[in-house]
Symmetry: C2
Subunit: 334 residues, 2 copies
């Protein structure tokens, strides 16, 4: 990059001081209209672009927010990020998305940006940080966890009530007469998934249905994981008649595995997904699934983050938004 114009040169060319140029740049009302025009004309003539590094350093804020996402190809994130961005725009923040691949080292590198004052705050979907690390970070900096979280003090979180959502889904199966209900998920490391498993167990217990450990499987986030896990289930001596999946991608893979065996959904086995992404309606049969208010989750998370970035006394709170069970063909009473 060749060296570019500075506020000094603009000042000189306009015959005013740098302070005045700065005032014009920041739309200060205490600049005479005539000088303002003079300065603006120079700015436009030479297409002067302020170097915001100078401003950021001086103000010690960057108006940038980092969004840490495990991966870029999970459909649920796209809409959450929309919510984040819309709220960010209201206050002029930049939103920067960085995938971590769920890799601890990578995540720490990215979190360095916060410590190094390169960004003002972070929203994270699922962290690999320990409770202590997160608490320590949360005391000094602004961090909000979204959807998925590590339960720690000095920490903010916006999510749905995962336990209840799973309870609702499994209860729906039970109401339809199912007794042999399986559950497949991505990873037991996820707090949200442990909560959902609790909800799953509570629903079964409440209806005096015994819980079979071999019907609970974990293995990944994607289509092929759902297919693989379901294939494992389908080799069991006693087969489930219903499968509760931790996200819609898994559910699609699950449905596929069942169909490949020549069985039908929901005729032979019913399926419920999670998230209500657009995948859910593209599947045949369309998926019954737990709707997460994705846009609102993002918007709310950013809202909380902005509060904490702006005020010195942070609030550390867990916000829960409403979920909803969307009933579609994959659990239709036959």
């Amino acid at each position: 990059m060749q060296k570019s114009m500075t506020i000094q040169e603009v000042a000189q060319l306009a015959g005013v001081s740098v302070a005045t140029v700065s005032r014009v740049l920041n739309e200060s009302p205490l600049v005479k209209e005539a000088t303002r025009q003079k300065v603006l004309s120079v700015i436009h003539k030479f297409d002067y672009q302020p170097n915001l590094l100078g401003r950021d350093l001086r103000r010690s804020e960057t108006m940038k927010v980092l969004v840490l996402t495990p991966s870029l190809d999970r459909p649920i994130f796209a809409e959450i990020v929309k919510g984040i961005e819309d709220r960010a725009k209201e206050d002029g923040y930049y939103v920067l998305v960085c995938p971590t691949s769920n890799h601890l080292e990578r995540e720490k590198e990215l979190l360095q940006m916060l410590k190094n004052r390169l960004v003002d705050g972070v929203i994270t979907f699922s962290t690999t940080l320990s409770e202590e690390e997160l608490s320590a970070l949360g005391q000094k900096h602004s961090i909000v966890q979204c959807c998925e979280f590590e339960n720690a003090s000095y920490t903010c979180c916006v999510s749905i009530n995962d336990e209840q959502a799973a309870f609702d889904a499994v209860s729906h199966f039970i109401e339809l007469g199912h007794q042999r209900i399986s559950m497949i998920g991505a990873s037991t490391l996820l707090y949200s998934e442990r909560l959902r498993e609790q909800g799953y167990r509570r629903a079964l217990t409440q209806h005096h249905i015994p819980c079979r450990e071999e019907w609970i499987k974990h293995g990944g986030f994607f289509h092929h994981d759902g297919e693989a896990l379901t294939n494992e289930l389908l080799q069991l001596p006693v087969l489930p008649t219903a499968i509760f999946c931790m996200n819609d991608s898994l559910a699609i893979g699950c449905v596929n595995a069942i169909k490949k065996k020549g069985w039908s959904v929901p005729g032979d086995i019913a399926v419920i997904g999670f998230d209500n992404t657009h995948e859910a309606t593209m599947s045949t049969p369309a998926l019954t699934t737990v709707h997460q208010p994705k846009y609102d989750l993002g918007y709310t998370a950013m809202n909380l983050l902005i509060h904490n970035m702006v005020h010195t006394e942070k609030k550390y709170e867990n916000v829960m938004l409403q979920h909803q069970l969307i009933k579609r063909e994959s659990t239709l009473q036959s």
Copy 2:
């Protein structure tokens, strides 16, 4: 944020000058091991974190690269970004992903970060900028277009040969005996898509098959777009026996629409997709599709970008990587 430790305070506590601390920070070899240890012990004791805004300002480089993507929920981008990130890591660059929603205004806001020296370079998938704007920008700054591009001077681009790729796909249909071949895509505004349409027409012409304009449809990127477009096709008086789709999501929607009408793929209508994302193998039938070397595209794009960020004499070149037609069930000879 409470005011945090600076290099000055570290210097004082360690009983050395700021210059020495800076040297330690930057791993300069000309520091005596003893003083190095003294400084490091202070740094660790107080968990000093350098404010990189100061460094960036001083060095006038940020080691940050912006990736502009139309949306976050297009599976092809995830893997391209992996390639970008891996190359970036080799030279210590941060990669920041920002969705533009294909919205010109948003894109310009983001591009401001480049002009304002908040990032050192940009990789963009599809821009809404005009040829002139892009050329102007490309002269002063480092920009690489990836996969999708606006054909302008002072511009870099990494992609496959879209025209030839489409030609290959359609030729495959023709070899299988198809004569009534349709094509559905996202938007005629995309340069890549116009190229692919040329390839489509060339293949037909070369085999003396007339081109029917009503068999070419455009309307969006996603499943539901593919379904809607296919439904339009299926209402035509003369139906195609093969449909070439501009991406795998469209193809999945296309297959779905056909199956919902009670027809079979490839029995009644054969389908080819584009990109070879993981969706392609999850569909039933699995999709024949044009493979793009996604990771390599990203890696190569970042490589070129780094060259241009580092050297003052930029190279403006268009790199084409190899595509490949992957044959699967959706075009299987019945």
